[in-house]
Symmetry: C2
Subunit: 430 residues, 2 copies
């Protein structure tokens, strides 16, 4: 008898199969026993009928507890009433292990308790749905870039220098010197973009930030494309296309998961390109009118991002931020060098920044000046300066945080549920 | 005029296009100028003809140096003699930047020099080819697992405990405690496999090993599948299918790169499943006969791996290693508990281990005993033990090192060329 996965069950209608999984739920009704089995790919109702309540199969059934592991065998048959449209007429039930007192029950549990049991919480239907959406988002991202001829170039995690300041870096001993965990693959992307034209990196990044918010993880995944010869406008278009591609994919392939999460898909379906665009100069008076105390030159916080994003149904692209609040490598705007050719994409519904990027300085003298102004050690950046010596070209790119995207798509309030094992301030277990 | 990439040039035959890139090479012949342009996606010959050697276009041409950046415009036309089958009849040549004294010339450079200029070395045709193969291998791996219903579950890099001992771990301060960089996502995979049935993680891993070999990187990428209810034999089959899938993909899509690398494809084409299998007990006398001094109980080193792999044309699966030389979580063989249900896949042609894995202990009491024997702190593993309390099932998985695979496929001797920015003993720049 073939071992099959529940997600493939429709292909086995009318056939005898074996399902291996865990007890999700069970109930009895007279001479019928209903077992809801999960195998990680779906849920299947397995039913057994007997006039004898002490039949061997019923005896086995009665021993089962939540999350006990088992193998069931029987015939697949279509049944419109069953969840998923199919059920199993169970003829054999083999217990692998009886789970004693599974800690996560149907009652409410506190968040600290659930986080402490994250390794088990993952089995719950909502967490399961979120992480399936996450996997789909990641696949969509890779398909998008691979399909457009971007070359994947993995950038290093262990780096000798900081991309955007040193205060939030994890440090480690690298044999005879210090190393830091990467906060961005961008500088390396710039080197590979000059070799491959259009590239992306996609890996974990780290920020040792001592802040506790709903939007930050200590360890998170980021995809970063970089394109030689691309301008700010080019990569705004790229970011729009990427977001739209992800939305269409998830709305097509993970609609069931969005339902499980009770996520209204309408705001996601409403997203259209081109996205509204707003310069920082235009945004400040709007923010102040809506009650923000921001002054020109100040950075956006979560409240400012929320105000802006709630004005539109699509994500908003805010551009031309003050140079002083942005990273050293950002290209000044030709018409006003006090602002830079950078862009932040603010997700709809108040979910905040999901993409940040822009055009990079390609002029050697200007970049050298910026390194000095930011008091960055030139020797660590010699290789980066080389990119401006040997065939320098205008180039642009951005970073998109995966967990922010998943949080927004799933409509969940706290980013900690968007990664299997979140790393939070003071939390590194399990 | 449309900006197009060289890899898409065939679709623009007969049309006027713009190419943006860098000077790969140039030569003159009478009234003709030949410019070999690279744009990261390919090489294109751009030719200009003029009776006037001081024509503006020729003047521009004469200024060009290796790796100068430029924009050229002209008409695409098919030409069997040109590399790639097409050339550009150049009508405009716009210089973006003249590269002065590009350090990597056609002469031989020392490896330390090239490693110090890795950010530029990436532009060379061999390095370019290796990294395109790498990207293809990674895409093949993801397509393989996604296509088989495996769920991608990113496991954390920052971990509170060691998977396989603490001597080779990078350590960092995680707020008020110590954290280590992950050497494997396996333990976390076991948790997600119980939630999702079949999973994989794929990310960077770290070994602070003070050894200098051709086969080791300090930071490398590893894909690790884990399957609930799978036995050792099941995952040997999975590993065979994976390797074959990768080979077929690369041989189809990256044949040109293998040619650039002068890699004979025949040994890769000769690989067939099932792979030869050999128990450790069977391997030891063979090794001794071939000159190894290994005793029963000793681990294989590079020389032993080479001897075994050279006996076969396909990779070899060595199974049933002594428990004492393997990790604490490995399931003992039922017929002999001194050996474990583990497997190493040794690549052909002496490339050594590319996959290591096996069946994991699913019995709680046995796992507790192993933790004690290995003097591992139980409190750090409480969550891992939970997986044996709540619906424990037999399960298996493996890890495949991407750089080892790429090294083998490309037929290159040193693993340092298989990743954009290798991290080696004492080397973390650029």
């Amino acid at each position: 008898m073939d071992w099959v996965y529940i997600e493939d069950i429709a292909a086995h209608d009318g056939r005898d199969v074996e399902i291996r999984g865990w007890v999700y739920n069970k109930r009895s009704s007279g001479k019928v026993r209903f077992l809801l089995v999960r195998d990680g790919t779906g849920l299947l109702q397995a039913t057994a009928f007997s006039a004898d309540k002490d039949s061997p199969l019923f005896q086995q059934f009665d021993r089962l507890t939540q999350e006990s592991s088992l193998v069931v065998r029987g015939r697949v048959r279509e049944d419109g009433r069953a969840p998923g449209g199919f059920e199993l007429s169970m003829t054999e039930l083999e217990i692998v292990q009886i789970a004693q007192d599974y800690p996560i029950t149907l009652k409410e549990h506190s968040t600290p308790f659930l986080m402490e049991h994250r390794h088990l919480w993952l089995r719950s239907s909502k967490q399961h749905a979120v992480l399936r959406v996450r996997a789909e988002v990641i696949k969509a991202v890779r398909d998008f870039f691979d399909g457009r001829g971007f070359r994947l170039m993995d950038t290093p995690i262990l780096t000798p220098s900081a991309c955007e300041g040193t205060t939030t870096l994890f440090e480690t001993e690298y044999f005879d010197q210090k190393a830091y965990l990467s906060q961005s693959g961008q500088l390396y992307n710039e080197a590979t973009a000059m070799a491959f034209g259009k590239v992306y990196c996609f890996g974990p990044t780290f920020r040792a930030e001592k802040s506790k918010t709903r939007r930050h993880l200590i360890e998170f995944w980021m995809v970063e494309p970089e394109v030689a010869f691309a301008t700010l406008q080019d990569i705004i278009g790229l970011g729009e296309d990427l977001i739209l591609f992800i939305m269409e994919r998830v709305l097509t392939k993970r609609r069931h998961e969005l339902e499980t999460l009770e996520r209204d898909p309408k705001p996601l379906e409403a997203i259209k390109t081109p996205f509204p665009r707003l310069t920082y100069d235009e945004a400040v008076p709007v923010l102040r009118e809506k009650g923000s105390t921001i002054e020109w030159g100040g950075d956006f916080g979560a409240p400012e991002e929320t105000i802006i994003s709630e004005l539109y149904t699509s994500p908003v692209c805010v551009t031309h931020f003050p140079a002083a609040i942005k990273a050293f490598y950002m290209q000044p705007a030709p018409e006003n060098p006090d602002v830079v050719l950078g862009v932040d994409f603010l997700a709809s519904e108040g979910y905040g920044e999901v993409i940040g990027g822009g055009q990079r300085i390609h002029d050697l003298a200007l970049l050298e000046k910026r390194l000095e102004e930011h008091k960055l050690p030139r020797e660590a950046y010699e290789w980066y300066l080389d990119l401006r010596k040997y065939g320098s070209v205008p180039h642009s790119g951005f970073g998109m945080g995966i967990e922010r995207m998943v949080s927004w798509i799933c409509g969940i309030k706290h980013i900690r549920e968007t990664i299997p094992f979140p790393r939070l301030l003071y939390r590194i277990y399990p």
